[in-house]
Amino acid sequence: MTDIAQPSTHAAASATPRKRSRLQKLWQNQSLWRGITAIIVFLFFWEIGSRWDEWFGKEWMIPGVGLIPPPTDVAATWLEVLPKVGYWESWYSSFKRVLSGFLMAMLLGIPFGLLLAVNKYFRGIFFPPFEILRPIPPLAWVPASLIFWPTNEMSIAFITFLGAFFTIVINVLGGARNIDVRYLRAAQSMGASQWDLFSKIILPGTLPSIFTGAAVGMGITWEVVLAAEMISGGGTQGGGGLGFFIWNSYMGGSLEQIVVGMISVGIAGYLSSSAIRMIGDWYMPWKRLF
């Protein structure tokens, strides 16, 4: 940018003479290895717990754990399921539902929350009904929306949207209202217009809350989608999703496949929240330091 900044960047570059490759970094990442070790240890105990009764007889079965299929059996079933199109269709349709509901909630929730925060008349009119609707759990909307919306798919989308919407709005509202008044005063003293205040102070100041809301909202969306898929039974309209996959396995009496479905949901949720974290890091470089 300027000639002042340059010497320091040169110095920084020469201070790290050989750059480690991405793979090397991954290899040397201690917390990654700790995580992998933890998962292996967990699987090990699960295996032992599930097999206890096989080795020592039924009377030694550990309550609860003994009924769950051991990880090796689950893995075997998973390998059987993996090449099947239906399994991936379940992933696809669940992801599609989560994403569409979530994006819709972000698209409507962020502006709505910001409006609530900056305009007291808007808040006066819309906040009370919002606060009455907010405590209603998304699943309580299921019967009404099944009646109200013409197709199953639309009711699922609507309920999913609701799950994320309220969380996102409440986070955005809280974040925008909690911006330190010093920032607003400083900006105003420096001659910021109303638009500058909004775009350069309130919006970036709310970003951390927006991403918190998004992360929580994403979690709720997965919960709601899974439950909705189980309730609606999927079936009639193409892919039933991972929820239906689990339910179907239950109906078919395959314990291993139930666990496969559950772990699949866990992985899907993890991927979703990692994506949100990555986007958050990218949008908020100043937050990376903490």
Partner: protein, 292 residues
């Protein structure tokens, strides 16, 4: 402001940039907070004259209404009675209880108010950009130059969270100065700092002042700080805030840290200390009464 001029103005003859600008008149100002009918008088008929280019230090017990006064000058709060003028222009008065906020009165806050989501250079460049005075690129260049001048050249692209509190406070003063203010309003900017950092901050502020001769309205608890930095030390009473005593500090500028061990400095300390101590006792007793 002519930033690029070398700082070799040998102290005695400052750059003329701010000469004759920034005279503050606070005349019979009263402020009554009235939340739900509970009258709290924060400032009572307080008057002060601050000459252009003066470093005016306000010293008084905690919660006495010093910040209320600053907020009124900055335009954050209204006043109940009296008037405040800047260079003989009315900021606020009976016809207009709350001053407009403006870049000629820049505030440096107690806990700092650099925008955490902007780099130091972007923070400093913010004022000229939103005022439409400079294009973004020029503003950033000027900001980097000014930061370098304040000894922050290495950290222009860092975020406030990445630098020390001393650095961010210096950057905040640069952010104020780039707007070419008539008055710099500082509300205990160095309060939470250790003595060593503080002494560096003081020298840096003095150096900045010698260069710009901007009028400074500085609130503090620290008597040494008040005498070391100030031309005048205004001791104010405990709530409601009134002017109790003004002590003239006739120590010549530029001042260095050794000044603090001189006999003259010690005598001034005693003088200020006596006035402040009385008020501190009153404030303490008032606090005990409120609790009883």
């Amino acid at each position: 402001m002519n930033i690029s001029t070398p700082v070799a103005s040998e102290g005695a003859k400052p750059m003329a940039a701010n000469e004759g600008r920034g005279a503050l008149s606070i005349r019979n100002v009263t402020k009554i907070y009235d939340p739900e009918g509970v009258n709290v008088m924060a400032v009572d008929n307080c008057s002060m004259e601050i000459a252009a280019g003066e470093v005016c230090m306000i010293v008084g017990p905690s919660g006495c209404g010093k910040t209320t006064l600053l907020n009124a000058i900055a335009g954050f709060h209204s006043i109940t009675e009296g008037e405040i003028l800047l260079d003989n222009e009315l900021l606020c008065g009976p016809s207009k209880p709350k001053a407009d906020q403006g870049a000629e009165r820049m505030v440096v806050f107690q806990h700092g108010a650099l925008f955490p989501w902007k780099t130091l250079a972007e923070n400093v460049a913010y004022g000229p950009i939103v005022q439409g005075k400079l294009r973004k690129r020029q503003a950033l260049e000027k900001a980097s130059d000014m930061l370098a001048e304040a000894g922050l050249g290495d950290v222009v692209t860092k975020y406030p969270g990445e630098v020390s509190s001393g650095m961010s406070r210096r950057a905040e003063i640069v952010r104020a100065l780039i707007n070419d203010p008539k008055v710099l309003l500082l509300d205990e900017p160095y309060r939470a700092m250790d003595a060593l950092t503080k002494s560096i901050m003081h020298e840096s502020l003095l150096e900045t002042y010698d260069r710009t001769k901007v009028t400074i309205f500085f609130i503090t608890h620290d008597l040494e700080e008040a005498i070391f930095l100030g031309d005048k030390v205004h001791v104010v009473t405990t709530r409601p805030c009134q002017l109790k005593k003004t002590v003239e500090v006739n120590i010549p500028r530029p001042r260095s840290y050794e000044t603090q061990s001189s006999e003259q400095f010690r005598l001034l300390m005693d003088e200020v200390n006596e006035a402040v101590h009385e008020e501190a006792i009153k404030a303490f007793q008032a606090g005990e009464r409120e609790l009883a």
